[in-house]
Amino acid sequence: MYQWLDERLDLSRLNTKFLRKAFPVHHSFFLGEITLFAFVVLVLTGIFLTLNYEPSTRPVKIEGYNDPVPAAYASILYIDSLPFGAVLRSLHHWSAHIMIAAAFLHMLRIHLTGAYKKPRELNWLIGIVLLVLAIVTAFTGYALPFDNYALTATGIGYHIGEAAPWLGKAMSAILFAGELEASNTKTIPRLFSIHVLWLPLLLLAMIGAHLLLMVKQKHTQPKYAEKVAPGRILGVPAMPQQAVMMGVLFLVYVAVTTFIAGAFLAHPVEAFGPPTPNTPSVKPDWYFMWIYGILQILPQWDLKILGANFGPQFVGGILVPTLIILGAMAIPFLEPQKEKQRYLELPSQHPRRTSFVLAMLMFYIMATLAGYKIDFLNANPNLSSGTLIAILWVLLIVAPILTYIISYILMKAAYRSREVEIEFTGRASAADD
């Protein structure tokens, strides 16, 4: 059989050219793989969901409800009633969160180890597009169960997008087929096609390009490889060793996420019921919370230019995130270098960059905290809103700066003592890790 195929497809060439490619080994490379497996599980569980979900708001009568409910909502209840159905739906939901968290941590590792430098600038850019796409895909799936909570939560993002000058209306026409309202019957079919077809296809193509570039450009290697095999790629063959490790990681991924999905059922629609005129108190998902937080502490103003409104919704919801994304995209181009980057840089040897990453993390955490403004006020009735906003502003600006300074000083101090040690003994110690 193998010979028959080999004569026709030249499989042995595939073996020498591709299956025996060397893959460098380092634990931090698994973060990209976790992101990849989250996507694979999303596609697999997504197929199961599409086979049972009805993308329509037509009213249907079901047991347990006096009034007719939207068909989309009813089909989610049906999925939950299938054996293992609730777990699979929960797994889909959890995997979406995990994919975004993993992509973010993967990006941090790329940043911290200098893997974005020449020749991998393009893959850094593709990566940022992937992260944004993953978030948008999750957002378009949120409203599909068509329960009161999902619709209200989607509304928060919808109103931020709507605030985009000149483009806002066009964007909501594309994504939501008009206004986001329980009565708009076109919204669910539109979101459905975008969420299950167009965005996943786009993600698939971009992930393919990302991996293709990675194979072509070769993976960065841990630094010790420079001593063991200078100028060469030190690694294990793709087949079978690397494939076995990936298989094990995939199984571990499914094990951990299925356990969480079963123990913590995500988004129990029946707890919220179908959409009603009174909106429940909701918060946006955690990956939007930092944007929502900035919106909570911005003062209110009104500025109209050429018919477009440049209010706080625009500044907090669109301008700041856009600037951060553009800033991230610029990172590889701020440090041009002639030589190719072949090895992982040690975060401890780049205190400025590492401190910057920590400061940005602190910024996100503080902005997220600001998203809880209302809860802080409810819990402390004596606190005035103005005082709280002032405190949150100070935290948002001061905490990242302090983080930068402290981590820079600490790293410099620790590293200086190491430099002395290297001079003294003539070689680096095991603390290189």
Binding site: Y224, L234, V244, V248, G262
Partner: protein, 163 residues
């Protein structure tokens, strides 16, 4: 970061546990504020647990990679050392896998029967499936560690693939 160390993965696992604990504390806090324990997770909890899950998986596979692949690679072929302990472990794990699979199918049958007196809870369905996957992962890991010949390549930087 210099080599495939155990320090970073070990810290990732500790950090993951801390994040899960924080998510638990959020529940306590919400319960204290609202007077009841909410049935659904808050967005904050989901975020903490999502990062916790990623860090846990990362730490787990990182430690496993250190065990299976070592801290530093050396070019050449490395034959595994034969021993009977992994065979025994493999047999026990296979039996456990059979048991978990049987129980999992049993919960599915029970869940399909709408009149069943005790519908199996979702944590049991998910937990049994998770156990099956984890056992298969461990079986493969044991096979790799004790029965697979290891090869480390030092490849030329200029490759022909894909162009």
């Amino acid at each position: 970061m210099y080599r495939n160390d155990t320090v970073v993965p070990a810290f990732a696992i500790i950090f993951a546990i801390a994040l899960f604990y924080m998510a638990y504390l959020v529940t306590q806090r919400v319960a204290a504020l609202s007077g009841h324990t909410p049935a659904e997770l808050t967005v904050g909890q989901i975020g903490l647990m999502a990062f916790g899950a990623v860090l846990f998986m990362y730490g787990f596979i990182g430690l496993l990679s250190n065990w299976l692949e070592g801290a530093e690679l050396r070019p050449g072929k490395h034959e595994p050392e034969a021993s009977s302990v992994p065979v025994v472990a493999g047999v026990i794990l296979s039996l456990a896998l059979a048991a978990a699979s049987g129980l999992f199918v049993r919960t599915l049958v029970l869940a399909a029967n709408k009149e069943a007196e005790f519908p199996p809870p979702t944590w049991l369905q998910g937990g049994l499936f998770a156990a099956m996957m984890l056992i298969i992962a461990l079986l493969i890991a044991i096979y790799k560690k004790f029965f697979m010949a290891e090869e480390v390549l030092a490849e030329d930087e200029k490759g022909e693939f894909p162009w």
